[in-house]
Symmetry: C2
Amino acid sequence: MLTYSMQDAGSESLYLYIYRCIKNDILSGALVSGTRLPSKRSFAKQLGVSNITVENAYAILQSEGYVYSLPKRGFFVSDITFPSFSRTDSDTFGIAQSHWEDYFPRPHISYFADFVSNRTVPENFPFSIWARLMRETISAKSNELMNTPPCGGIPELRLAICSHLKQFRNMNVRPEQVIVGAGTDYLYSMLIQLFGRDKTYAIEDPGYEKIAKVYRSNGVACRYIRMDSSGIRLSDLEHQNADIVHISPAHHYPTGIVMPVSRRYELLRWASQTPDRYIIEDDYDSEFRFSGKPIPTLQSIDTLGKVIYMNSFTKSLASTIRISYLVLPDALLRRYYDTLSFYSSTVSNFEQYTLAAFLEEGYFEKHINRMRNHYRAVRDALLKEIAASTLADCTTITEEEAGLHFLLHIRTKMSDDALVQKAAENGIHIACLSGYYHSGTPDSHAIIMNYSGITLAAIPEAIRRLSAALR
Amino acid sequence: MLTYSMQDAGSESLYLYIYRCIKNDILSGALVSGTRLPSKRSFAKQLGVSNITVENAYAILQSEGYVYSLPKRGFFVSDITFPSFSRTDSDTFGIAQSHWEDYFPRPHISYFADFVSNRTVPENFPFSIWARLMRETISAKSNELMNTPPCGGIPELRLAICSHLKQFRNMNVRPEQVIVGAGTDYLYSMLIQLFGRDKTYAIEDPGYEKIAKVYRSNGVACRYIRMDSSGIRLSDLEHQNADIVHISPAHHYPTGIVMPVSRRYELLRWASQTPDRYIIEDDYDSEFRFSGKPIPTLQSIDTLGKVIYMNSFTKSLASTIRISYLVLPDALLRRYYDTLSFYSSTVSNFEQYTLAAFLEEGYFEKHINRMRNHYRAVRDALLKEIAASTLADCTTITEEEAGLHFLLHIRTKMSDDALVQKAAENGIHIACLSGYYHSGTPDSHAIIMNYSGITLAAIPEAIRRLSAALR
């Protein structure tokens, strides 16, 4: 007969103790499948506990499937079969004794200045305004904050983005065309679902390797298209049978090329030739142009609904607030809402409402103006410091009128790898243009000077180190 | 010779006016490709403006590609080809005169009570604590907030999730196993990329239709597996050649079935039979169990690294804060970090740090306890109100011990569609169990009473209306 010593329960609840004892007996095989457990009343009496204690223990055993009950007959031990644990493939089943450091190794080099990474310098983020708008949002919008937003985001933010696009880019966009999502990576994957996996996607070479990674990771065909001085080559696009082309016409990364109007119209003509062709216009840093009027977007000269415009608050606000957006042409709206609107929005309501207020109340415009002045000052200080350094005699600078990087061309016999290595030894993180080519290219001797994360104060020392490294 | 009347400039900047005049002449064909523009100096003199004004105008024209410059020769009109605008396919190219309402029609029915949607009642969200923690985060962590987090989220949040899982689910999980993302939809798509598109995914039938939609939208094979009273049928899994099975063993939606231990071990054994088989354990509402001890997760009895655990703060905190997470088994960690860690985190640092503090400082535990009491009170009030209504004679209630819904079985001659329709006419939004079957099933006469968005105050009237509707 089933019995347990209640003295061994220690400080544990009696019902949990009984539950555990019976479970162990089932797992060990002491209680075999089909065994009838004592009735609650008699078992309680025998153990010297209340009926409710046994009842609770049985209830847990039943809810976990160790026992089952039959009406008017009582509780019975279930038939539990255990897996065989046969380790047929140690690579697949081997459980690593891994640690955080295995996946996030500490960097060997701590850089004095980093001309590669994108990071908003904390002094440049409008923390006090953001905190106030967040507080106001929480206190004024408790009801709206709990309402499930449409997949493309709350109407207020989408409308505020339309006004911003009208004001800054002279684009005429309606809120239903704006789809807000948690970063451009996420929006790329939405576009793949929208266009289909049978399409061939074309990206710029050189370009951001990450865009190719997203396409490949999503299992779609992705072709690299070489660029000339006006942007991607149309002939290659035809040759590669591309359907969807992904470009940054306003300011290509990392070459800085601005696609001229002629190429833009050629591209639109290319897209108009078959119904499946579309252009993704990634306008990632158009807010930061230092001279002249911003160039009209492809989206605004597209009358055939062939352009999907993309932008993000990553560069303009902070890369750690994950809000990007698409502008879909009318031709794709119905398809989007029919096939993809079942997805939940990926951006928190709290941040959507806060950003909407930030845009509506004019803070974003002020922030952009302040940042443009800041980045211009950083760029000017860098150019001045380079001109006054030993780099002046062996370098030329190009593409400094827009975006947050310029190219520093060096006359040197060192390889690009050696340049990067020597700079690193001097505490300066740089990357060369050649590293952004997929199809291979001779050493460029062109350093991409991305200065978004550089402070004014660090510039003299950074350039002193860089010139020492590259001498 | 090129000339414009500067009187027509009006209030526009002179350089923008000149830019616009020349651009219009190029677009209209008045200035043809190859035409040399006057020299800046002579043109400025002729127009009676400063040299810098013409220089600015030419710079914009050049940056936009309307003109090009040749060293020492000057500026020339570019060759711009326009697209043909031939509308070959009006369905594809037709631009709809669409409006917001076309995509977001206003609902015809305004419900008095909604037993279908998931929404956190605003009074239940800890707004003041959240606002304070957000404020503290912003003031104390300005530097960390701007640092790009790893793809899987900030270490602080991942560690806090480990502690939570230890405390609430007795799971032993290390922070590198925890991958935070903007909602479960997003995490499903990560898992598809991790496992591969050549796998066959199996989901529960009945179940959430949305899970199937995500799999289908991502272009992978997805099979519906019928359930018996212990959960999905193993024989069907074998029969359908499934590789990855997606289940909610702790509390199936909408049947409320808790998978017994025997079936759990059978499933683990199934998974152990080939290296490609895995189990996704979606533990979406395990925080809300009203009786007995929570059931151990599949993850915690899996010694072979075959289980991916998933959970979310959607039900436990608010569906509009988009934070969910995966727990990867060791066997998949290296693959994840090698192939998917290039992705940016999809959750804002601001919310990651705030949620980490909310967990670490014990607020989440208190919130869950408070919510569990609240939901128990709502459930009890509903059961009491039903028992006191005319529904008592014609209904039975099941699966009321866990989660945020129970099943109300009605003895009626009405069809399920008629039940839903009659309830809607009385201002009550309900759904029937039969609607969650993919493979078709006779009318269930079982209403899923999801009470997460119901207030205590609304219950008497809601049940009065429901009983009137179903009479």
